[in-house]
């Protein structure tokens, strides 16, 4: 057999590696939990909804037309400016941006878990992140008009890196708090 690089073999046949099927009843299991948590329960008010739909037809029309108008306007305004699509500025940087944005998104939801138990701590932690995020959004908004887009994108990524690091530290602190709590619980149990 001809020698082939392992990497290229896997890459060329990536689809074939996805050959497992999730269990057929998994969606039912998920849906049961969604019902318990009352997620996506629009169906329950379906009857009422249908009447509303007809009345709101005009509103819906407006809702589709107005954004289109805005999009058109936006396009008109920006068509002569440079594209702000990050991958057109630098594909490598775009990849980094998405990577960190994904990590942050996941870590933020992890952080949100403590909202109920530790509201004060959560407030403190999320306000730190919020500050960072505000300056990120500002950079992002400035990007289209930036004289040096690459530098701006780099600043955006640095911001995301710091956010990731910050979230890591916060999550670590939470872990330590939970650890201490657990130990205290065990101690009282032992006594």
């Amino acid at each position: 057999m001809m020698k082939e690089r392992l990497e290229s073999f896997v890459r060329n046949n990536k689809k074939e590696f996805d050959q497992f099927e999730p269990p057929a009843d998994l969606w039912n299991r998920i849906e049961k939990q969604l019902d318990e948590k009352k997620i996506g329960m629009q169906n329950e008010i379906g009857v009422k909804k249908e009447r509303v739909v007809r009345v709101s037809f005009l509103l819906k029309m407006a809702a589709t037309v107005i954004p289109l108008l805005f999009a058109g306007l936006w396009f008109y305004q920006y068509q002569f400016k440079q594209s702000t699509d990050l991958s057109s500025i630098d594909p490598g940087l775009a990849k980094q941006q998405v990577h960190y944005a994904t990590l942050i998104e996941v870590k933020r939801t992890e952080l949100k878990r403590i909202e109920k138990e530790e509201p004060q701590l959560y407030q403190e932690f999320s306000s730190e992140i919020k500050k960072m995020d505000e300056s990120y959004q500002k950079l992002k908004n400035d990007l289209p008009a930036s004289p040096n887009q690459e530098e701006t994108v780099k600043a955006m990524i640095r911001n995301l890196q710091i956010q990731t690091e910050l979230l890591n530290q916060q999550l670590q602190i939470i872990q330590q708090i939970n650890q201490v709590k657990k130990e205290q619980k065990n101690e009282t149990q032992n006594i």
Binding site: F9, P91, E105, V106, K112
Partner: protein
Amino acid sequence: MEAVYVDQHYGLVVECRNGSRKAYNDLYKLYSRAMFNIAMRILNDADEAADVLQEAFVDAFARIADFRQETTFGMWMKQIVINRSISQLRKRKMDLISIDETDVESIPDNEGPDTEELELQVRQVRAAIQELPDGYRVVLTLYLLEGYDHEEISHILRISENTSRTQFMRARRKLVEMLRNKGISYN
């Protein structure tokens, strides 16, 4: 990974926020297979992978209002599945000391006469990956199949970039050796 990060399913996420159960089901149908295979590659156990998938989807759906769409739903979901799979793997390691030893005899022979050569080869490579010890398998899978680079893996696994690199090199060497024993040669 491709450099296109436009979320094709942006609209579905918005519909989910508006409470459409159908949109949730659509997202599930779109992503469940790929996500299940990701969990399978990390965990090597269909029941555990199914549990992780269930938790991950419920979790993602419960938090979809917080999802700010700075990234795509698929990448977000993938990261959730990977995180959960890894913490499940870590949990398991505490009560199961060594997994690589138990796997030694269970090498599938792949003697079915029905398969084409390529399919057979994919199966053999996949089977060999599944035989790798957990630490090797996870790094190799993330790098080779999920398309992360070592910097990204270092964040995901909270190891150094260098560790990720050496782990991958060792895992790769071991895999190539295992495959050679089955008569498949790679560079």
